[in-house]
């Protein structure tokens, strides 16, 4: 894929992460702030609450999107930094292959966890 297209995807992922990551952080780490804004306070990390989110297709979809955008954005940025540190063409190819492999590995693992957590057993 052309570098400009990869860069555009990096920006699109950044914009998506502002929304999805912001929502995730607000729900998980700012319960008192959300409570002050009118949202009923509940223990979001209790097993029952976690399992309820896992069973909801909307939450599972949001988790997959969040994981995918975060991995793409993060690994594209890491790739740029690593290619600055090791600028030779051979190192650049190795870095490209490395970030794709790491990204696929973590994405497949994460999606498997999300899918298994949503199973009805």
């Amino acid at each position: 894929m052309r570098e400009s297209r990869l860069w555009a995807l990096h920006l699109i992922a950044a914009a998506a992460l502002l929304a999805l990551g912001g929502l995730h952080m607000a729900l998980m780490h700012y319960p008192a702030l959300l409570g002050a804004l009118g949202r009923p306070s509940e223990p979001v990390l209790a097993f029952a609450a976690v399992a309820a989110r896992d069973r909801a297709a909307l939450w599972r979809g949001l988790y997959v999107l969040l994981l995918g955008f975060a991995l793409y954005h993060g690994l594209y940025g890491t790739r740029g930094i690593l290619r600055e540190v090791w600028p030779s063409p051979r190192a650049a190819r190795a870095i490209d292959v490395g970030v794709v492999l790491v990204g696929l590995l973590v994405f497949v693992y994460g999606v498997t966890v999300i899918a298994l957590a949503g199973m009805p057993w």
């Binding site: 920006l11 950044a14 914009a15 992460l17 502002l18 990551g21 912001g22 952080m25 780490h29 700012y30 319960p31 008192a32 702030l33 990390l45 097993f47 976690v50 399992a51 896992d54 994981l67 975060a70 991995l71 993060g74 690994l75 940025g77 890491t78 930094i81 600055e84 540190v85 600028p87 030779s88 790491v102 973590v106 693992y109 994460g110 966890v113 298994l116 957590a117």
Partner: protein, 165 residues
């Protein structure tokens, strides 16, 4: 001065020839790579935001696989999940959680500034770069100040939520 032949391509002076990476001048070595990022020299505040953006981004991308692995403990049932949460309440890990939160808040809000710049919203009309640069002073710097003030507020609230509360 002898007339130049328009059919002959002008010669590039030797000093302007691209230099192979292996033959780069030694004096540049301290301004490249990791040392080059950390040396902000006389650059403005945005240069330090750039360094922090990279550091926070690297921290977040290293944390992400760990976060996926830790949250996967819920697959092993409620007891294992409660044990995992108890482990995460260790003071060192609570501080780590706060650092992740602070890194995310800073990276996201500084990222808004970068997105606005990349999309051209804070660049102004093309013009001669006359000092003091009006676009930088009246548009880019105030945006950076507002976003960093917001980041400070969210990090302070996060500190209270994660550690104090």
């Amino acid at each position: 001065m002898p007339p130049t032949d328009p059919r002959v391509a002008p010669q590039t002076p030797a000093s302007a020839q691209p230099v192979a990476w292996a033959q780069r001048p030694r004096r540049l070595s301290g301004r490249l790579g990791v040392r080059g990022w950390l040396y902000a020299g006389r650059y403005p505040a945005e240069r330090y935001l750039y360094i922090l953006h990279r550091i926070s981004g690297l921290g977040l991308v290293l944390y992400l696989p760990l976060h996926v692995w830790v949250t996967a403990r819920r697959l092993e049932g409620p007891e294992v999940w409660e044990q995992t949460l108890a482990t995460l309440r260790h003071p060192a890990l609570v501080v780590g959680e706060f650092l992740v939160l602070a890194a995310f808040v800073f990276h996201a809000l500084n990222g808004i500034r970068l997105l606005a710049g990349h999309l051209g919203y804070t660049l102004g009309r093309p013009g001669h770069p006359v000092y003091p640069y009006p676009i930088a002073l009246h548009r880019q710097r105030p945006l950076a100040a507002v976003l960093m003030a917001l980041a400070a507020v969210f990090v302070a609230v996060g500190l209270w939520e994660v550690i104090v509360r």
